[in-house]
């Protein structure tokens, strides 16, 4: 990266959250610590704090999403913000309005924050470069590039169950090539000092440069899962596949689907994570997804607290 980090303000505070790449370790830890304090709010009688009262947060989703959009919406509402959901794919954009015109119009409606999902890599960066200084941008997934809040909630989940990052072996399994989630995880794991990150998948679904990120590459899942502490399964992204990268979903499951037998190669207390939505029987067997080691549903709950932390830290850095 050249020039100043576009995510940070002149005091080094977080102004936008666009990617976990180059995100300073202290900021990641601050987000995780703050999220920890937000967790108990979900269990109270009144699941709300007044921090973002009077702020308008626009959920700008140019690509469909249920879980991410909903958890951002819940997080913003628990911070007492006003939330406006726009599924832009079905409105102005289809009438020909440009991305920046859409954002300019919403800014004229006094937006304080944009949560952006877009199929094009770099869309959130583009918006962040053009908004007024008091507006904050959160990347909720851009193309194959980044999905930082997912990466951070995964770090929160790992820390919750494993306490420390310094001695962990973490395996990321499946369609790493198309996965913005994997990229955000790898950068965050590295920054947090995880000594061994493994990427497991067929040659056709692993990026050619993945080992440049310090990741150990495995094509054999049994070897790759040996003695790991954390298994992160990725969704097989049918909608992003053009051409014949895979013979068939059944073939994929045979070699890279997480079954109890394959999971037995990992440490006995290894946790199993998945960013959702899951394809049961394609990348993960139901008995593992619903099993003792699965922390897939806690990930969703933690995701709300992590998004609350991100939004309250951003909005506080005026």
């Amino acid at each position: 990266m050249t020039g100043p980090n576009p995510q940070l303000d002149s005091h080094g505070g977080l102004r936008h959250l666009l990617t976990t790449e180059g995100l300073p370790r202290e900021i990641i830890l601050h987000i995780l610590d703050t999220a920890h304090s937000f967790l108990s709010i979900g269990e109270r009688e009144i699941k709300k704090v007044p921090l973002l009262r009077g702020k308008a947060i626009f959920n700008l989703f140019f690509e469909p999403s249920t879980r991410t959009r909903t958890t951002f919406e819940i997080a913003a509402k628990r911070l007492s913000a006003d939330v406006i959901n726009l599924n832009v794919g079905t409105s102005s954009q289809s009438k020909g309005e440009t991305l920046l015109d859409t954002v300019a119009n919403l800014s004229a409606m006094h937006a304080d924050m944009f949560v952006v999902r877009h199929s094009q890599s770099g869309a959130a960066h583009l918006i962040a470069r053009h908004v007024a200084p008091y507006i904050h941008v959160v990347n909720a997934g851009d193309g194959r590039h980044a999905h930082p809040t997912q990466g951070l909630l995964d770090m929160f989940t790992i820390r919750h169950y494993k306490k420390e990052f310094a001695s962990l072996r973490v395996a990321i399994v499946g369609d790493v090539l198309h996965s913005r989630v994997a990229r955000s995880q790898i950068h965050a794991l590295t920054t947090l000092g995880v000594p061994e990150v493994r990427a497991i998948g067929p040659r056709t679904l692993l990026p050619t440069n993945v080992s440049d990120l310090g990741v150990h590459v495995y094509h054999d899942m049994a070897a790759g899962l040996k003695d790991v502490d954390v298994v992160i399964m990725l969704r097989l992204q049918n909608e992003r596949m053009n051409g014949a990268l895979l013979p068939s979903a059944q073939e994929f499951f045979k070699y890279y689907g997480l079954t109890p037998e394959k999971l037995a190669r990992a440490k006995p207390d290894a946790i199993v994570m998945h960013p959702g939505p899951m394809n049961r029987g394609i990348e993960i067997d139901s008995s593992v997804a619903d099993g003792r080691q699965s922390v897939i549903l806690p990930q969703v709950t933690f995701g709300i607290a992590v998004r609350m932390a991100v939004m309250s830290i951003l909005a506080g850095n005026a």
Binding site: D33, H36, S37, I41, R44, E45, V49, L51, N317
Partner: protein, 169 residues
């Protein structure tokens, strides 16, 4: 100008004596992070009250979020009893503007509707900006406006008071 400070342990004993007639086995103590929690822990041991000790960090309710942003070190609030119907004593180390107490009361009401809330402070240094008063005080101290009183706790658990120039802390 500097003020000489009394011993924190003596103030704690004085505070406990003033509270004793008003505390019942069901009185619920809640300490405000961080110094208030230390004092509340000691009071909870002395009085052996039944409800487990509660703690609050008022960062999510502070009125200076808009100007100062989110505090860098936030601890989770933990109220392990039913707030609704409880007789609560909020415990803080230094009572000054009253803004922390307002924030703490707002937070408590998001847990439920207490029957009563009273306030205990080790030190009341005056300077109130809100109509808030403590029912139990260890001592009233006259401190210059640009000085801050900080509660400390050593490895053995002994409490102490320290005077800081504002901004230097």
């Amino acid at each position: 100008m500097t003020t000489s400070l009394p011993q924190a342990e003596e103030l704690l004993a004085a505070l406990a004596e003033r509270m004793r007639p008003a505390v019942t086995p069901d009185t619920a103590l809640i300490g405000i992070h961080t110094g208030g929690v230390w004092i509340a822990q000691r009071l909870h041991q002395m009085f052996s009250t039944r409800p487990p000790l509660g703690t609050v960090d008022v960062s999510f309710y502070r009125d200076d979020y808009g100007s100062r942003g989110l505090h860098p070190k936030i601890k989770p609030s933990d109220i392990p009893f039913d707030v609704t119907g409880a007789d609560i004593v909020l415990v803080d180390d230094v009572l000054h503007t009253g803004r922390t107490i307002r924030a703490a009361m707002n937070e408590l009401f998001d847990y439920g509707r207490p029957r009563s809330i009273r306030l205990a402070a080790l030190v009341d240094r005056g300077g109130r900006q809100l109509p808030i008063a403590a029912q139990f005080v260890g001592a009233e101290l006259d401190v210059a406006g640009d000085e801050q009183i900080e509660l400390t706790r050593d490895a053995a658990g002994r409490l102490g008071l320290k005077l800081n120039r504002a901004g230097a802390a």
